[in-house]
């Protein structure tokens, strides 16, 4: 018989969050552009914003407190309630 071990892992089952359905087009969609404050991420978002608007989407910019920490719950709520699309910029 196997020995009775105490696992260092947290063995709890977590339900996978399914990906939200992707729209066929960005036209008339509202996109939230999330700047995580990583160096030069804003430049990437500038380009994305231009492209999204050219495709008929409206945009809004939000910013994390710092790139190295999870976004605050309030910010996540703001993103969830504010737009159908999210673009998050990782950069360096």
């Amino acid at each position: 018989m196997a020995a009775d071990y105490v696992s260092p892992f947290d063995e709890r089952v977590r339900a996978a969050e399914p990906l939200a359905p992707r729209p066929a087009s960005v036209q008339r969609q509202h996109a939230v552009l999330l700047d995580i404050r990583k160096n030069r991420g804003a430049e990437f978002l500038d380009r994305m914003e231009t492209l999204l608007r050219a495709e008929g989407a409206s945009t809004a910019r939000v910013t994390k407190e710092i790139f190295s920490k999870p976004a605050a719950l309030g910010l996540i709520d703001e993103i969830a309630s504010g737009g159908g699309l999210v673009v998050e910029a990782l950069a360096d």
């Binding site: 018989m1 105490v6 696992s7 947290d10 790139f67 190295s68 920490k69």
Partner: protein, 527 residues
């Protein structure tokens, strides 16, 4: 041996009523099995990329061995196409792991104990039985025993569901081979008699379970963990360990301490360090996943150093002392295992450094001319305190020739000029200087306080911004006039001074910072 049944996928005969859970056409039953990694194995998880191939096997069965040998080399290609393969043994997990490894099985491994609930849920009476679960979690087909042609058909069907051409086992003899009785289908006494000997290779099993930092560990048996807890409540939660947010129950912290090789007497220090790294101000989340090399430096002050034999003397940053090495390792195992920050997984460090195996230093408070770190941070001298600091690898600083405290302070400070990066000035995060006793003695002799040394070092290391405006540098340097002097540190408080090391030799060291994480130094009393 039982008579072979093949290609039941067409009608499901012999595998329960069509459409029943676990039978062909029915929903895949959940798997009550143990795997080798964290978390439970679920049908949803296995089919997340498209489909799953459940191969029920037993160690005692030659046909199972044949199936594992023939199918094992194909698993990786299947996985890339979206088909997860898992061998579900009717044996103890350690035996399953060794058997799978010996036979070259390339998929996942799981085990079930008597009365073999997974085999029963899938009406497995013969091993091997291979079950295909398709998208939507429905059982799409099954093959009993070894039947190369039927398995090729099953894989063709799986490939159609995935939109891919899946590799099939070679058409080599034997093309068919009867299976063996499933242990789920016979009397418990007979099943026990058929079972191989479990155990016997615990260190290897720890590797297979992933309960390691790459070095051998002490298996965390219930008895050892209980001894480590020393009567404490193992269910007490210290919080969630990022990035995977595993819950740091005291029992899991103790399991990490056992794995690391700690003695129970060390556990109060390990627990205090765990509480410290889980303080949100430390931002372990950022440190754990960064591409930076940073590890978690554990500094111990107070009477507990002597109580448990922590070394603050010769070789204080090196090998040789169980308490230092295992306490630091236990903290790192908590981050890596409970927190999920394993290199290449959620730990994304480009290089890392050896101190990430664990780095625990005790300050030599008797030799130091200054108040120790914990007193600086507001604790009483008689308190035992753990302080954690996100830090880089140590850089040695040799100075045998300075004859004034000013010269020595200059050498020490400028050694850190390249900490983090040559032109990244100023650093807001702490650089930790470990001052050796001979260097400390020079400052004592000259009557320098810790504050004076820190201020001198802060003032000494400055460069014109123009010399720093090259390659990676800070916005402050970019914005400064070329002749404006920029300091290496944002403030004197970014210089942390400790005293430790052997009484002979003039080698101090500096550990650069973990930068830009918003991480603060955190201290916790050892209780």
């Amino acid at each position: 041996m039982e008579p072979m049944r093949t290609a039941e996928g067409s009608d499901g005969r012999g595998a329960g009523a069509v459409g029943a859970a676990g039978a062909v056409g029915g929903p895949a039953a959940e798997l009550a099995v143990r795997g080798t990694g964290p978390g439970r194995i679920t049908v949803g998880g296995l089919t997340a990329d498209g489909g799953a191939l459940l191969v029920f096997v037993s160690e005692h069965c030659p046909t199972s061995a044949l199936a594992l040998r023939r199918l094992g080399p194909l698993c990786e290609a299947w996985a890339q196409a979206g088909l997860a393969a898992i061998a579900i043994f009717e044996d103890p997990l350690d035996l399953a792991i060794r058997t799978a490894r010996r036979l070259g099985w390339g998929g996942q491994v799981a085990a079930q104990e008597p009365p073999y609930p997974a085999s029963r849920a899938y009406q497995v009476t013969t091993v091997p039985t291979t079950v295909l679960v398709g998208r939507g979690g429905l059982v799409a087909g099954r093959v009993t025993g070894w039947d190369q042609r039927a398995l090729a058909g099953l894989l063709h069907e799986a490939g159609q569901g995935l939109g891919a051409e899946l590799a099939v086992p070679p058409g080599a003899e034997p093309l068919t081979k009867p299976g063996c009785s499933s242990k789920a289908a016979i009397e418990p006494e007979l099943a026990a008699a058929m079972s191989g000997q479990g155990g016997g290779d615990e260190p290897e099993e720890m590797f297979e379970r992933g309960w390691t930092d790459g070095l051998p560990v002490i298996p965390p048996t219930a008895e050892r963990v209980e001894a480590m807890l020393g009567g404490r409540d193992g269910g007490e939660s210290l919080g969630l360990v990022p990035p995977a947010m595993g819950e740091a129950t005291l029992a899991r912290v103790a399991a990490c301490a056992v794995l690391a090789g700690c003695r129970p007497a060390y556990f109060p220090v390990v627990a205090a360090a765990a509480r410290a790294v889980l303080d949100p101000a430390f931002n372990l989340h950022g440190q754990a996943v960064t591409t930076q090399p940073a590890g978690q430096l554990v500094v111990v002050n107070g009477p507990v150093r002597e109580t448990i034999g922590l070394n603050s003397g010769m070789g204080a940053l090196g090998p040789g002392f169980r308490a230092n090495l295992t306490i630091g390792r236990a903290v790192r195992l908590l981050v890596s295992l409970t927190g999920g920050a394993m290199p290449g997984a959620m730990d994304r460090a480009t290089l890392g450094h050896m101190g990430k195996l664990g780095c625990c230093i005790a300050e030599d408070e008797q030799v130091s001319p200054w108040e120790p770190l914990h007193v600086e941070r507001g604790f009483e001298p008689g308190q035992s305190v753990v302080t954690v600091i996100g830090s880089d690898a140590p850089l040695s600083i040799s100075d045998h020739r300075s004859r004034t405290p000013e010269d020595l302070a200059y050498i020490l400070a400028w050694a850190a000029a390249s900490a983090w990066s040559t032109n990244w000035w100023p650093l807001a995060d702490p650089s930790v200087f470990v001052i050796c006793p001979e260097h400390a003695e020079m400052f004592r002799g000259a009557g320098w306080t810790k504050q004076r040394l820190r201020q001198f070092m802060f003032d000494a290391v400055r460069k014109p911004a123009g010399q720093l405006q090259r390659g990676e540098t800070t916005p402050a340097v970019h914005a400064a006039a070329p002749d404006a002097l920029v300091p290496k540190w944002a403030s004197p408080e970014a210089i942390v001074l400790l005293v430790a090391g052997g009484e002979a030799g003039r080698y101090s060291a500096v550990l650069g910072p973990c930068t830009g994480m918003g991480s603060q130094i955190v201290s916790r009393e050892v209780t």
